[in-house]
Symmetry: C2
Subunit: 294 residues, 2 copies
């Protein structure tokens, strides 16, 4: 199967599961559901849940059991986009080619829709309707790992530093903190979650984790590059607005940024060599992330 | 032990645990931690975790195992206060007699501090450092119940309706939805969480749940009364600002509101009669909630 077909098929499976999850909070206020679904189904690439599925399947395990966790990660990613776009944070009015959540539903409902997506993500993982068949110890471990990756020492921590150093001088250390926390953290955990459900042994998990870290970091450098050099219509959001932010381009320049992406993708690919032929999709996904449309 | 001493002792235990939890995210950005701790230690009454402890102890079980869950509930309550106070939601500049979180740390950090508190609440419950001794099935059940109570069909759902019906005509049904979701939901779950850790059987849990619902609803009517008739210095926030909101006073008047509180407190007390002498603290807590300083 070529990567395009793989991405398309997995996206459908993920979105079917997300739709089923949305039907499970049917007694919530209509406008709240609308705001949550507006952003949840706004043509996202589903990179994080697809990485989780690919890691699970690389261990030759069906990803059926993984789907609720993979969707929980996508819900957490979606909440983070809604909150990041708010006027007091990044003040974006366009996301994936559509008006941002607060532009459509107002700031109050957007904040609350983000809160609800984050809360429901944890509900789904602990809901017997979705994870009955999973060993309880695994559920606990994955909830813990995802909360760590998304919380004060993970994604939110990175986002706070991103806000605090907007318009400031900054250092390479600060940049590194922001990129590893804001973006890498949740991507790394997506790969780990898929690997854990796939039954990866300790040493395998270490290698797969490194794969996740490398593509997570490359993903954020690519985001910086797209902001500097990308096409607004293809990328689907306002570009050239990160000039005041801590970006890889700002601290290292465009050429070094492209070289760093290549190095990271190579390291990611080496990290999953132990999987032999089963690494095919993970390898192609790494290359795909290293070559997003510029 | 009289109720004043009980409240004081439990508050110390809860705050010691909360401080220990805060030390567990020590690698997060300093300003994020400061904002989380500013609101987490702003002289809250700790009603929710104390109710959980009282329910647990009413079943003659030590509340040691319960503490991480009780603190997780308090963290979720705290995040909801930070987000409720934001300019685009309730636009409050005073809470518990102090400037609100966004007044001190700015809107962006306040939003993110709320996000972090919510995420870390789930992390704590799944963290072996805190809940190693608890049966995994119980951990899963409590995470599920708390997420349900706090999410789209619980607290956040109620908050959305509160925002949407601000300044609108509204109906008694709408008021009932807001009060049962925005406030009652998490208080009910506090009592349930304590009861579950305390080992309550199905029938006992049903009675204790009813106790939680009654005091939760009474608590919100009392909040409406305090806003209409209270003393700003004692209550610690700006009052007489809910005139555009759906309140019990608006739909039923002051006299009927006071009568309803009394009825709810009586029903709460009756609901825990089955506990005999062990109901003492729960009964006193119900009376305490029915008599908050006017």
């Amino acid at each position: 199967m070529d990567l395009g077909t793989y991405l398309h098929e997995k996206k459908i499976i993920i979105e079917d599961t997300l739709r089923d999850i949305c039907s499970s909070f049917s007694t919530s206020p209509g406008m709240l559901r609308d705001a949550m679904e507006y952003m949840l189904f706004s043509n996202g690439k589903r990179i994080r849940p697809i990485l989780a599925i690919a890691a699970c399947e690389a261990k030759q395990k069906s990803s059926d059991d993984l789907l609720p966790f993979a969707c929980a990660i996508e819900m957490i990613h979606t909440y983070s986009l809604i909150h990041d776009d708010l006027p007091s944070i990044d003040n974006d009015d366009l996301r994936r080619g559509k008006p941002t959540c607060h532009k459509v539903f107002g700031e109050a409902v957007a904040i609350l829709a983000g809160d609800a997506l984050l809360t429901e993500a944890f509900r789904v993982m602990a809901d017997t309707r979705y994870t009955e068949r999973i060993h309880l110890k695994i559920i606990r471990q994955i909830i813990f790992e995802i909360a760590m990756a998304a919380g004060a020492e993970g994604m939110v921590g990175g986002q706070v530093m991103d806000v605090l150093y907007d318009g400031k001088e900054g250092t390479k250390n600060i940049l590194n903190f922001i990129h590893t926390h804001k973006t890498t953290s949740l991507i790394r955990t997506s790969v780990r979650t898929g690997s854990i459900i796939g039954g990866a042994k300790t040493k395998e998990l270490t290698r797969l984790t490194r794969y996740g870290e490398c593509i997570g970091f490359a993903f954020q450098i690519m985001d910086d590059l797209l902001d500097a050099e990308g096409n607004e219509e293809i990328v689907g959001k306002r570009l050239k607005k990160d000039t005041s932010k801590q970006t890889y381009i700002k601290h290292y320049g465009i050429v070094a940024s492209k070289i760093r992406i290549e190095q990271l993708i190579e390291e990611a690919i080496e990290s999953v060599e132990f999987l032999g032929g089963n690494s095919k999709i993970l390898v192609e996904l790494a290359r795909f992330i290293g070559n997003r449309a510029l």
